[in-house]
Amino acid sequence: MDAAKETSWEPKIITFLCNWCSYAGADLAGVSRIQYPASTRTIRVPCSGRVNPLFILRALQNGADGILVSGCHPGDCHYLSGNYAARRKFSILAGLLEHVGIEKERVQFSWVSAAEAGRFAEVITEITEDVKKLGPANRMVKKRVH
């Protein structure tokens, strides 16, 4: 990445946020006026367990530069075990994506509670910086018929 590109280009990051924790955390970050990069496009989900791995792949296909799935800390799931199921799923998915050559930093996962507004801002800042280092997504992006 050259320096000029780094300053002018803002990545698009899709964030899947659990309604009961991370989404509220993002909300709290907002009302608390905590600053973080405006790189995210948020999709609210009822639980991190709702996130089908296909959603992540579709986001990559459609040109998302980064993807974050964020849910409740283990033990805090509103539905008791949704995040545990999600964790198993995503540990396999993360391994598979890395195996086929998708950069590890493009698809990330976090646990952020409704009270952790500062943490939410940190997570977004981190993933934005990670993705900026990688540059725009190219792998998996769907191309039109030439």
Binding site: L54, R88, K89, V100, G101, M140, K142
Partner: protein, 317 residues
């Protein structure tokens, strides 16, 4: 091999006589010299069609979810593991299933044979204990079976059926000293770019014929999400990105189920390296959740369950 075929026929005859089965799914000689093909026996008069040899490569468990009634099935090691997997998922009626287990020395890879014959065409094949004698126009070649096995057979750890009601022949020695994940490990050593290049090549080969999916005993969904048009989850074309997503999702769907029977690899007309995905997932499932697919009918499918202290390192908290 002749003896084993005979033993199968006798076992099946007995099952029909005792009225334990209405249908037996086994193998018969195919239309090409190197092929055996699945056959459906409904009548005691037809049992002589049944054969056993090193070309009985299909996983017959794929037919179990499509047929009803009292069924007998010829099952080698991997078929039996697929049956166990289907039992875990409540897909078969064990009461009405007779498993005719048969220890397996591995199946011969048609493509490896083709390669070693170069462009000569086999017209006649004879199988001895550990070799194939292949005859054609003006040539005769003897190939050692252990040299031309499918890759997954070479690293198979369960050649003997893990579950059976009748056992044909004698158990064979298991290959305890092979590392079944050697290929995945070697691949993991490569750079991200090299792995991506390999993935691109596989995606470019795919013609979306779904032979891999349809040959797989675990792709038993009545409606596959790939086919669905309302909503349309998947891009339908052979755009590289769409074939890649298809393969990632298909292998993900059989995570914790795949028994590495190789049915998908054998079915694929375009030589897509499907074990590249499946074996990686199998390795991760083994390492992270200590689960080996198709061994214990009572075990919960690993993605249907969880532990509170599951692997967590990849998640920021």
């Amino acid at each position: 091999m002749e003896n084993l075929s005979k033993e199968i026929r006798e076992a099946v005859k007995k099952l029909f006589e005792e009225d334990k089965v209405d249908l037996v799914i086994g193998f018969e000689n195919g239309s090409l010299p190197l092929k055996a093909t699945p056959c459906f026996i409904r009548n005691i008069d037809d049992i002589d069609r049944l054969v056993w040899n090193s070309r009985c490569e299909n996983n017959l468990a794929v037919y179990l979810t499509k047929n009803k009634g009292k069924i007998g099935i010829v099952a080698k090691g991997c078929d039996s593991r697929a049956i166990v997997g289907l039992m875990q998922e409540n897909q078969i009626d064990r009461e009405n299933l007779v498993i005719i287990g048969i220890p397996c020395g591995g199946m011969v890879d048609q493509k490896k044979i083709e390669k070693s014959l170069q462009e000569k065409e086999p017209l006649e094949v004879k199988e001895n204990h550990d070799s194939l004698v292949i005859k054609g126009n003006g040539f005769e070649e003897t190939l050692k079976i252990s040299d031309i096995l499918y890759d997954n057979c070479m690293s198979c750890k369960h050649r003997n059926p893990v579950i059976h009601d009748v056992l044909i022949g004698e158990p064979v020695e298991e290959q305890d000293d092979v590392d079944e994940f050697a290929g995945v490990k070697a691949f993991e050593e490569k750079s991200s770019d090299e792995r991506w290049d390999h993935f691109v090549k596989q995606g470019e080969k795919c013609i979306r014929c779904y032979a891999c999916r349809n040959a797989c005993p675990f792709c038993f969904c009545e409606e596959c999400s790939v086919d669905s048009s309302q909503p349309q989850w998947f891009g339908k074309s052979i755009a590289l990105s769409d074939t890649q997503v298809f393969h990632l999702m298909r292998s993900f769907h059989i995570a914790g189920r795949c028994v590495d029977c190789g049915a998908c690899v054998r079915a694929c007309p375009m030589d897509v390296d499907l074990r590249f995905f499946n074996k990686k997932i199998e390795k991760d499932v083994r390492e992270l959740f200590s689960h080996e697919a198709g061994i214990d009918p009572e075990a919960a499918p690993p993605l249907n369950t969880y532990n509170t202290d599951d692997y967590d390192d990849f998640i920021k908290s």
